[in-house]
Structure formats: structure tokens, C-alpha cells
Amino acid sequence: MGGFQKAGFFHRLGQAGYVGYTEALQYLFLLTEVLFYTVWPRSRRGTQIPGALGIQLFNLGYKAAPIVVLLSFLIGLTLALQSVMQLQKFGASSFLAAGIGISMVSEIGPVLTAVIIAGRSGSAITAEIASMAINEEIKALKVMGLKPLPLLLLPRFWALSVMGPVLTLLAVITGISAGFFVSTWVAQLSPMLFGRELALALTPMLILQSLFKSIIFSWIIVLVAIRRGFLAQGGALEVGKQTTACVVYSICGIIAADAFLSFFFY
């Protein structure tokens, strides 16, 4: 009697590779959709709800600001305290400003902000769209002659493309402020020295790289969130499943992109 044979390692590896390849194509498709509808205005008919961009800027940016500020301040504070303890052993406390500044601008600012956005806004986008899919709202948009994909994707994509760098900048400023607080109150360094060291360490190119990273991370988050939302079908269980997948895939994508970009900018 024949039975099902368990797939071998290479078979499963091949399957995983194929799934990864098709997924990558889907994200590329979403990106081309955005570019198409943005670049060619005539195609936008039936794809825009008036005021949708403003609502998304408010929801994805303004509402996320408090949590970004709080977490980046705490991370900056911890980082500065840990650094100052080690630097004081070598009498090198004056390097604190450069250390905090460079790490906040080049790594912690963009990555931390992206992880917060993925957890807060990415999951919210997926949950919203997945709920729309299971409640027949997407079908309703289609039968009204509207285009659900660009209608839902475009405002979120551009809102996060703007608010990602803004929030990153906010996180960087807050994190450096926490470092400044530690350097003046704990390490007893002069504020002037902190400012001078910081200005020497932060080059315009470093800040531009940071903002570029934050745009790429924002795109990863919004594309994963939208794709996962549209994949939902069935019942409420699917909303949770796709939301979890969105956060996991987004964070993995952010870390992988960060590693790639670090090599690129090296």
C-alpha cells in the first residue's frame, strides 16, 4: 500500500526558495503598481478617496510620534549610561557625544523607528485590510468599479514614505537629547563640548544615509502590511495570522535590508 512520502530536505529547500521567489515578485508588483499610479495621473481615476492621504499621515505619523519619542529616549538614555561607564574607565568621556550621535543616526534611529512602525502601524494596516477582506468590503469596492489595491495602497505608501523619515529624525533627536542629558548630568561634561563633538561626528552624508534607510524600511513595512492584508480570507482567525506574519516579515525584512545597506554604505 502506497503512502505519502515525507518530502526530503532538498525538496523542501527548493519549495521554500520558490515561495521566496514568488513572494519577491509580488512585492515588486506592488512597488510597480505604486509607481504606475503615481507617475501616470490618468490612471488614478477610481483610486483615490479624497482626504485619504491626510488621514494616513495623521494615523501613521502623528499618532505614532509619542511611542517613538518615549522608546528612543529610553534607548538613548540606556545607551549613553552604558557607554559613559566604559568610557570613564579610560578617561574618554568626551567621546560620548560622537558615540551616541553616530549610533543613533546610522543604526538605532532608523532601525528602532522602523521596528516600532512595523509593530504599531504595519500591524494596524494588515489588520484593517484583512478585516475588510473577510467582511466583503474589498469585494464591494471592486463591484463599485473602484480599484481596491491602489485605493488602499497609495495613501498608506506615501504617508509612510513621508512619516518614516520624519519619525526617524524625531527618534534621532530624542535619543541624542537623552545622551546629552547623561553627559551633562551624569558624566559632568560641558554642554559646549558635547555640541562640538557631535557636530564633528555627524556629517550630512551620514544623516542622508539614515533618512534613505528609513524610506527603504518604510516601504518594506507598508508593502508587507498591504500584501498580508490582501492575503486574508475566511474568518477572524486569519486577521490575527496575517497580522503576526506582517510584523515578523517586516522586522526580518528591515534587519536584512539594514545589513545590506550597511555593506552598501561601507
Binding site: 481615476r45 463599485m144 468599479g145 485605493l151
Partner: protein
């Protein structure tokens, strides 16, 4: 071993006598004072429908005349909503041909997008966008394709359809603040804002109390009297008898009967008998 066992079981299980299938009773022009156009507003010919290359319905034939309420009937899982999804172009046809408002839909052709402006759809759940108010939901089919539409004209149109469904007080409420019946009426208002020629309703009475359901039926009858054609997917017997002029009954992947309600009700097929007389379920 299991294969032989299943064969044995199949052989020994007494089979219900299979009645004749796909009896097409020619729909008659019916019931309103209006003069009927001869060509049906919706015609399905040898339609084959399903999902992911799995056929669920085959050889579906029926006509819907202009100005009538046509019921798509059948038990749960009989394929009513599947057929509706294919008529609405949400899934591609697997075979056959649908003629809707003189436009042909075939597996080879893409769905004629201009049809969407001439039809309205009321989904089972209402399918109102939860992030928008009732008025914004109703405005959606007009404002998205025509962003420069005059605001006063739009407000007037919204007020008109809200009057029609008797929901004026709820225009600024969000869907989460509405009862089931109000959601259905708001969704009906959204379907009517483009003044469609044909309205499709998927299980409009589902989840509603009898009085609200009755109120919705009255709205459908009003719309029919105003010259609209309605295709209603339902299995609510009271509603069918109250509003339908003609019906198509689906069972086991095909049409059992189609035609005027009175004639289909008298059909001898056991599935129809069990449906209309609410007797023991017919298992095919």
C-alpha cells in the same frame, strides 16, 4: 484495501432515485404594469462556475426579465453566492456565457467595466467601509471616479437615497454604531446612489429580525415598482413568497427549475418540495 471497501460501501448503499435535472421552465414576463422589453436583462447560458479550477456549478441556464424580482434559491452550499460572484465578475467564468444589460461575459473576455456603473450590489454583511461614515460610504461610488463632483449636488443625492431607505438620521454615524437592519439599508443606499438598472442582493434578510426583514422586503418591492430589476440570493421562505416574481432553484451544482414562483413551487423535484414545504432535507 480501503479503496475496495469504499467501492463495496458505495455498491451496497441504497441510492435515492435521482430525479430529472435542469428542468428549465421558461420565465414569463411578469407582474408590474410596465411594458417589458423582450430581451432578458440577465441571461445565463450553460454557465460553468467555480474556484481554483474546481467546478462547483455547471450548465446553469436562466433568464431575468426587466422590472422583476428574481430569487436565486437553494440550500446552504448550493452555490447561490458562487454564481452571484461570477455574475458580478469577482471571479472568472469557467464556461458558458452571461449576458447582462446587453454585455456579454465569457471565460475568454474580460469583464466589461462599464457594467459596474449600471449595477448595484447589496452584500450579505452590508460591506460598509468601517472607517467612513454612512454618508461617506454612500458617496464613495460617485466621489472616487469623479473627485471634482459638485459638493451640493452630491449632498443632495445622498439625502435622496437616504430618504428612500428611511435612514436620514444616521448619515453621520459610523457603521459600528448601526444595527444590522440599518447597516443593510445604508448598504442599499450606497448601491442605489448610482441609479443602477439592476440590483443584486446577497442574503439580504440574513441575521435580521422578521420585522426588519419585512421592512427590507417592502423597500425591494418599492424599487421594483420604480422600474428596477432585482436579483435576490436568499433561502428565506417568507421573503421569497413576499417579493419574488420568478425564481431559479439551485441544487447539487445545477439548476433544478427556473421560472415564475408559482410554477417552481409546484415542481415535483424532492429538493424543491423539501425546500418549499420545509420537510426533511433532501440529500443528493
Amino acid at each position: 484495501m480501503l479503496f475496495f471497501l469504499s467501492f463495496f460501501i458505495k455498491e451496497k448503499t441504497p441510492q435515492l432515485e435521482k430525479p430529472e435535472r435542469a428542468v428549465l421552465i421558461q420565465p414569463q414576463p411578469v407582474y408590474t404594469n410596465q411594458t417589458k422589453t423582450q430581451a432578458p436583462i440577465l441571461a445565463c447560458r450553460k454557465v460553468k462556475a467555480g474556484y481554483n479550477n474546481v467546478s462547483l456549478l455547471s450548465n446553469i441556464n436562466f433568464d431575468v426579465s426587466s422590472g422583476e424580482i428574481h430569487g436565486l434559491l437553494g440550500g446552504s452550499g448550493s452555490g447561490k453566492s458562487t454564481l452571484l460572484n461570477h455574475i458580478l465578475g469577482l471571479y472568472p467564468l469557467m464556461g458558458g456565457e452571461i449576458t447582462l444589460l446587453n454585455s456579454k461575459i465569457t471565460p475568454e473576455s474580460s469583464y466589461p467595466e462599464e457594467l459596474r456603473k449600471k449595477m448595484g450590489v447589496l452584500f450579505q454583511s452590508g460591506a460598509l467601509l468601517s472607517s467612513l461614515t454612512v454618508a461617506e460610504n454612500i458617496a464613495l461610488p460617485l466621489i472616487v471616479p469623479q473627485p471634482d463632483l459638485d459638493k451640493n449636488e452630491l449632498a443632495q443625492k445622498i439625502e435622496e437615497v437616504l430618504n428612500r431607505v428611511k435612514l436620514n438620521s444616521a448619515s453621520h454615524k459610523f457603521p459600528s454604531e448601526l444595527s444590522g437592519g440599518m447597516k443593510k439599508r445604508a448598504a442599499l443606499a450606497r448601491a442605489l446612489i448610482t441609479n443602477p438598472s439592476i440590483l443584486f442582493c446577497d442574503e439580504p434578510s440574513a441575521g435580521l429580525d422578521p420585522s426588519t426583514s419585512r421592512h427590507l422586503d417592502e423597500l425591494f418591492l418599492e424599487l421594483r415598482d420604480q422600474g428596477k430589476t432585482l436579483v435576490v440570493v436568499t433561502h428565506e421562505l417568507a421573503s421569497i413568497k413576499a417579493i419574488c416574481n420568478s425564481v431559479t432553484f439551485l441544487n447539487a451544482g445545477g439548476v433544478i427549475a427556473s421560472g415564475p414562483l408559482a410554477e417552481v413551487e409546484e415542481h415535483t423535484h424532492p429538493a424543491l418540495q423539501s425546500f418549499f414545504r420545509r420537510t426533511h432535507s433532501y440529500i443528493n
